[in-house]
């Protein structure tokens, strides 16, 4: 399996892992009454900022581990060069990702218009972001295997 495909699989699982753990921690804090995300929107801002920071650090650690394990398994230390095909695949995958995010996020405004509580927008934002990331990486794997 090419390096890029392995990297996409790692991206999917790391995204799911980080988001799941973070969501579980936030849910526990909400359930224990430490925060009230249904009315205190300031908390959402803090949560998203922390999530961005935690996500970046966790991904750096995961990529380092992935690269070390890949180097041990394949005996190839160098990361493959990014050429025009890689860029085209990333471009198409990013387009699919934006479409997925829009399809996930846009209906939330409709639901907001019919009286849905505002905090669902924040949950929908995170869920759409995660789905968009999965779509992007699955698209990359698809284009690498089937051609572009």
């Amino acid at each position: 399996m090419p390096y890029q495909e392995k990297q996409s699989i790692v991206n999917i699982f790391s995204g799911l892992l980080i988001s799941s753990i973070f969501a579980w921690i936030i849910y526990q804090r909400q359930a224990n009454g430490l925060i009230d995300l249904t009315t205190d929107y300031r908390q959402w801002g803090i949560i998203y900022l922390i999530f961005i920071g935690v996500s970046i650090i966790a991904r750096i650690i995961i990529y380092i581990i992935f690269h070390i394990l890949n180097a041990i398994a394949t005996r190839e230390m160098d990361i493959p060069v990014t050429d025009e095909r890689d860029k085209l695949i990333r471009l198409k995958a990013t387009r699919n990702s934006y479409n997925a995010f829009f399809i996930g996020f846009a209906p939330l405004f409709l639901l907001l218009a019919v009286g849905m509580p505002v905090f669902w927008i924040f949950i929908g934002f995170a869920a759409s972001g995660l789905i968009a990331e999965i779509v992007e990486n699955v698209s990359q794997i698809y284009y690498y295997r089937k051609g572009v």
């Binding site: 090419p2 890029q4 493959p80 060069v81 050429d83 025009e84 095909r85 890689d86 690498y144 089937k146 051609g147 572009v148």
Partner: protein, 74 residues
């Protein structure tokens, strides 16, 4: 995925050029081996610049490397 209408003779040209490997060709033109594999299989149509670089590597005109098939059913 629709196959490209651009066909190529890269495999034959590699064989005729001291049995050049895909990796050697990839290094010569500055792309990954996977990209050369995809071009040979017809899963990827290279940019004009890359096509010229491949032709230049084989010291042959572009039309000897790539041909356009207007009827993909042939």
């Amino acid at each position: 995925m629709v196959k490209s209408q651009i066909q190529n003779n890269i495999r034959v040209l590699r064989f005729n050029n001291t049995e050049m490997t895909q990796q050697q060709l990839a290094d010569a033109v500055g792309v990954s081996r996977q990209t050369i594999v995809a071009i040979e299989k017809g899963n990827y149509s290279p940019s004009l610049e890359l096509a010229f670089r491949i032709a230049h590597t084989f010291k042959t005109p572009l039309e000897d490397v790539f041909t356009y098939n207007s009827n993909p059913d042939e």
